[in-house]
Point group: C2
Chain length 191, copies 2
């Protein structure tokens, strides 16, 4: 059996997207990196977009794996939540491809990269939504709309982690957990 050309292509493309971003990686470059003719790419993927989509799928799967690693059923919902969200933020910063996407969206607004980031966000929301459903069942949370609750928790976490520091002292992980607990678990009504 000959070498797996498909894998060669996907690996080369992953590397190129991570290094140069979506817009700046060319199909010629991917072909050369993979050591295959350009035409060969098009026997596996009909367009550059489709190739990118597959790679984004893998990225999302990987993030899910990492999130699962962080989850500990022995801990409370909010503890797990803030650890998972913190880990996801970290992933976005440290993982080469994810980081490049963020940068490309910020600096050039490439539509396809934006779409990719949106898919990641939707996947994260879906993931948290499930965890919320479980927490509600286990009685760790009041009954609530899991979709809406996921949205609130994720948006708030990201706003605190990325926008708050723009005009204030950054919050460390523990403060974030405390804030989440006091504002969202207990509420800020007196008593």
């Amino acid at each position: 059996m000959s070498i797996d050309r498909r894998k060669l292509i996907v690996d080369a493309a992953t590397q190129s997207f991570a290094l140069y971003g979506y817009k700046a990686t060319t199909m010629d470059q991917v072909a050369k990196l993979a050591g295959v003719g350009k035409g060969t790419i098009y026997t596996f993927f009909t367009t550059k977009e489709e190739l990118f989509d597959e790679i984004m799928n893998s990225l999302i799967q990987d993030m899910k794996r990492v999130a699962d690693q962080e989850y500990d059923p022995g801990r409370t919902f909010f503890d797990n939540l803030s650890r998972i969200l913190s880990r996801m933020l970290d992933y976005r910063e440290k993982h080469q491809l994810a980081h490049k996407m963020v940068q490309e969206v910020r600096d050039m607004g490439t539509p396809k990269a934006t779409e990719g980031l949106n898919r990641i966000e939707r996947a994260l929301l879906g993931y948290i939504e499930v965890k919320i459903g479980t927490a509600v069942e286990k009685g760790e949370l009041k009954p609530c709309d899991p979709g809406l609750t996921a949205f609130i928790l994720v948006k708030l976490y990201f706003a605190l982690a990325t926008e708050w520091p723009k005009s204030n002292e950054p919050l460390d992980k523990e403060s974030m957990t405390d804030i989440f607990r006091s504002y969202l678990m207990d509420g800020i009504a007196p008593q």
Copy 2:
């Protein structure tokens, strides 16, 4: 006493900024609209930016006036809060100049327009911060960092009002108030 040229200029500039945005209004145009020579503008404002800044000051002052109008000391903190925030959102949509700024930032990212919107946001945060301080004093809220709390409340409100509808059914004003009450007043911990 001759006509108030300064006012002529400010009015003309306000109209032009509202109609064409920051980038697309030229000092020549403002001069012509105001019916004065271009040089005259520079006897009152050293740069286009300074002229714009003064107009933004007026806008912010006006928003504050509108917010104050919405405030009713007889109502609860959360009721006032969500009515004020809803009114501010509405203002940004309906007020010609504010609306044009939002559009210009979205479509072209004009730095000076972005700065203007940031100033508005900071002013709003400051305004809410004061209201929170009062509410804490009156015992309507637990003691908390008013700056942080204002950030959380405003960010969450705007996310729910502008981002949530992108992939969900929009929330009407009453739902928003309910959400705020149940998530932030009472918290989502059981009991």
